[in-house]
Symmetry: C2
Subunit: 204 residues, 2 copies
């Protein structure tokens, strides 16, 4: 037991390495289509070497999704602190999404997992749902804070504005990846900037 515990830091490093390699593969290929062989090729590990660290493919997929998502969320939110006006903050969030749509190769982990887990991977589906709900909450809270601060008009519906932002960004990302141009994402940004300027309170 001592020895295993003493080896933990190396084990943890291997675990982290597996997650880093697996995340883009699951994100690109989807849970069902991703084979253990692909994970072995990417990590250079044998099957036993991978499953020493994860109970099964589902657990690895769940943790790889969490890893991909936390990286995306960090990239999308870390530049927002320190922007005082809520409208400017929301516009910056849109700009960040448009210029850095995905932290992990293969597109948005939320959308990929939502589409992929449709056919019944209950744990993955649950995690995609949680990720969506928390994105909605985060944006809606920014809107509410902006209304309280007098940055955003009081008649705005926070949930509707949050849903509009997420829907258009996710839809435009799908289009841009398919068309291999930034056109749809740029159009989304232009439209959302218009929507956000439309809810801005005139300067007092």
């Amino acid at each position: 037991m001592r020895q295993v515990e003493a080896g933990m830091s190396k084990g943890e490093a291997t675990r982290q390495f597996i997650l880093e390699q697996a995340a883009p593969i699951f994100n690109r290929r989807g849970y069902s289509a991703c084979s253990i062989q692909e994970l072995m090729d990417a990590t250079g590990l044998e099957k036993g070497g991978i499953y020493r660290h994860f109970a099964n493919k589902e657990e690895l997929a769940v943790e790889a999704f969490q890893y991909a998502l936390s990286r995306s969320v960090r990239i999308r939110t870390e530049h927002l602190e320190g922007i005082p006006n809520a409208v400017d903050k929301l516009k910056r969030a849109v700009e960040t999404f448009v210029t850095t749509p995905s932290a992990i190769e293969g597109g948005c982990p939320l959308m990929n997992t939502a589409i992929d887990a449709d056919d019944g991977n209950p744990r993955l589906r649950e995690m995609a749902l949680e990720a969506l709900n928390s994105w909605q909450d985060r944006l809606a809270k920014m809107v509410i804070a902006g209304m309280r601060a007098g940055d955003i008009r009081s008649e705005v519906k926070p949930r509707q504005l949050a849903n509009t932002m997420i829907a258009i960004l996710e839809g435009a990302l799908m289009m841009s990846r398919l068309q291999r141009t930034k056109g749809a994402l740029r159009d989304a940004q232009t439209t959302l900037n218009g929507v956000l300027e439309g809810v801005r309170c005139p300067k007092k």
Copy 2:
């Protein structure tokens, strides 16, 4: 040869039956994850009975996608004829999408195939791209016709408006399917109705 030709109408019916059964399975499960066993279970046919009508799984997937897409397009466009004002016509298109988001079980065939074919099914990817381009063209043409008829303001950018509509509807459909409520789709409709009313020319 005669006999085979005389049997064509039965063969065609079987082919059509296979497509009808396969389309929702491919749409729900994705191309890579969908197994021949699932197709055999759904059709009640042996492997040989299926592949008598299709060269391989890819050809079946491509034709199933075309079948699903043509049904979706028909449902989304057939009620638009006869609406004289372009803004009203676009609002109706949005309403139809929100109330009947998918003609085939499993969500939007375009989005599913776009996400699924990301990792390299070139023919399926090409078809999803064509479907997206043709949706863009159809909406942009409605906008241009509306500008010519004096229904829509002359400063509107047709491609940007078309991209906005598609992005928000596709994104909201993903959200609504994940959350199992119509909330995101209803919010998308409210936002798009606002955007569309914003481009309407005042009555002469």
